[in-house]
Structure formats: structure tokens, C-alpha cells
Symmetry: C2
Subunit: 174 residues, 2 copies
DNA sequence: ACAAGACGCTTGTTTCTACAACTATTCCCG
DNA sequence: CGGGAATAGTTGTAGAAACAAGCGTCTTGT
């Protein structure tokens, strides 16, 4: 640990605030979704990603990459979602090692039903607290940080999915 | 859920990026601290807050407020830290209901030893990815969000602790 | 064609967190 | 004072995550 340059006052101010956001925001998202839809934020995230995917289906490994979950974690989460009928697991036809996770009709309905409350929470606690300029700054700052957190772009398909222009028939996002 | 205004493309861009940061950054912080110091980020956070407190001591309820922990969570965490000799719990002289958490000498050494590696990680993954201007923007954006996440200012003493001017003899922060 | 290794996912174990229930002390108010 | 409510903290239990190990499948090299 040779000689790390300390953080100056300005950097420290930014960092301690970010840490506080990191500590508070996940709890707020979890609480709202858990209360109104019986889902953790991560579960909602999984369902939302599936809902936007081709055929509402993804291979487990791809889903793990996109959600930054380890294979065991995703396996457990998907099993629980399957128990609730929101997702089903099908053997992958092209590779018998692989499993496809598919959003069921009930899962789709669950996402559609949960989305408005979630968006409202996001607005109330984040977006509506910022000016339009600050929203852009937040995007740029996050993008820069993600360049370090995710250098190989594992999750990039997740957080860049709204960058293109016109947008096809999009669905429940967040 | 009456009629929630959806997020426009710009807002969505910012939000999905922030979610990705929320998903990735805690894991990075935990992994480094766990590997190099045998501490979770939350445990480090608790020790760091104590290290900056008067007498390196805080009442459990105050510590819970500052770290945004529920009382049971803090109780368990402090018990584990006490088992490792990093913290000790003393009855509060002025209120027999209350317990004081005090950072031991070993706990102090642990924080001092862990801080440089932690700061390095914070630099590598966040601060050094940003321009000076962006660091200020991050502070302002986070401050605005915290206004919604923490309206009653429970954690404010934590994330505003470096706002004053000259700064007394500060200690291991992060 | 077959063995060695890589890959994809699951299962099991331990650790941590949330929620609820409980004990003990203090405060409030008649 | 004395009794009810509020406060401070702990414990117990169930649910979710991290880590390690395991099993079946594919790929590669010879």
C-alpha cells in the first residue's frame, strides 16, 4: 500500500455523499417494491431485463452477466421466481449445458403491474430532485465510473440499452 | 398508482447508469476490504465513524442513525466486532437503557491499517475517473438526492462531516 | 475416438440482514 | 408516588447472498 494520495476536501465531500446514497437508496427501492409487488429490487431487475429481451428469454449466463449476479445467486433467485410462476426454465436446444430463463405471462403481468410504482419512487427520490442539467451530469458521471467498475463492459448492454435513437417497442424499464 | 409520468430518454439514461453503479460499486468495495482487511464495507464504515467520534465512542442509537442501520442489524454487527476485539460495549453512565460502543486500540489500528487500501480503491474506481468539475457535480447531485432520501437529516452528520472550513485533527475517513 | 480440460449451472454451507417479539429502563401525568 | 407509554437495546428466526464444491455437457488435441 505504498503512499496513496489522500482525498482532498472536495473529493471527500463527493465521496461521503455517494456512500450515503449507496447506503440509503437500495433500501428505499427494496422497501417500495417489496411492499407493493412482493419483489426485491434485484428480482424486479431480473424480470425487467427479461421483459425487454428477445422472446422474453435469456440464457442464464447472459442474464447473470447483464445483472452482475454470480451464477449461484442467479440460480437461487430464478428458482424462487420459478416457484412463484413468474419465470420458467427450459433446456437450451443448442447447448444442453445451458438453461434458458423465460418470462411467463404471469411474470410479464407482474412487471407491468409493478413498473408504475417503481417509476414513481425513482422520480420522487432521484429524478425529480435534480435539474435537467443535473440529470445529464449524473448520466455522464455514472458512465465515467462504470468505465472503471465494468471495464470489459459486461453490464454495458444493460445500462446502454436506451442510447439509440428512435427506440422500438420498449417495455417496462428501470 | 394513478398516472405516473414515465421517464424520458435522458432520464432513463441517467437512471439505468445509476442503477448499474448501485449494483457494482458495493461489491467492489466489499471485495477489497474483505480481502485486505477482513471487513465488510459496512463494518469498516462503523469503525470509521467511531474513529472520528469524541472519545471514539458513540451510543448505539446514535451509531445506528449515522450508519442508517436498523437497531438489530447494528447490534449484531457490533457484537461480531466485539468478538474480534475491535469494539467494546460499555453501559452508558447517564442512561442505563443505553449502551456505548467504543473503538478499542486494536480497532483503531485496524482502521488505520485498512484506510489506505480503501482510499486507493475509491480513487481507482470513482474519483480518478472524474474531472474536478465532475467531482463537484457528483457532490451536488448526491446532496440533492439525499435531500429526498434522508429528509429529516438522520445521516446528515455523516455526509456533511467535512463541510466546515479548517478541519481539526481528522482521522481515517471513507 | 477418447481423454483432459473448460464451460454452464446447480446444490450445500455459512454468513449476514430484516422482521418480530421480548426485557429493562426512563418519562409522563394524574 | 404509581401505572401506562415510550425509549434503548438484545435475541430468535426466517429469508437472501457469498463462497466452495459438485455434476453433466461440450470442446480440443492427438
Amino acid at each position: 500500500m505504498d503512499d496513496v494520495p489522500w482525498l482532498d476536501r472536495t473529493q471527500l465531500r463527493a465521496w461521503v455523499r455517494l456512500v450515503a446514497v449507496l447506503e440509503l437508496l437500495p433500501g428505499v427501492l427494496d422497501a417500495q417494491l417489496r411492499r407493493d409487488a412482493g419483489l426485491t429490487h434485484f428480482e424486479y431487475y431480473v424480470l425487467a431485463i427479461l421483459s425487454e429481451s428477445d422472446e422474453r428469454t435469456l440464457r442464464m449466463s447472459e442474464l447473470a452477466r447483464l445483472t452482475n449476479a454470480t451464477p449461484p445467486r442467479l440460480s437461487h433467485v430464478v428458482r424462487r421466481l420459478e416457484d412463484r410462476g413468474l419465470v420458467e426454465r427450459l433446456p437450451c436446444p443448442s447447448d444442453a449445458r445451458s438453461t434458458n430463463a423465460h418470462l411467463t405471462e404471469a411474470g410479464w403481468k407482474k412487471v407491468v403491474e409493478a413498473a408504475p410504482g417503481h417509476v414513481r419512487t425513482v422520480r420522487e427520490h432521484v429524478i425529480d430532485a435534480l435539474s435537467g442539467e443535473q440529470v445529464d451530469q449524473l448520466a455522464a458521471v455514472s458512465e465515467a465510473i462504470l468505465g472503471r467498475l465494468d471495464p470489459s463492459g459486461e453490464m454495458a448492454a444493460t445500462y446502454r440499452r436506451f442510447d439509440e435513437e428512435p427506440g422500438a417497442t420498449s417495455s417496462a424499464s428501470g
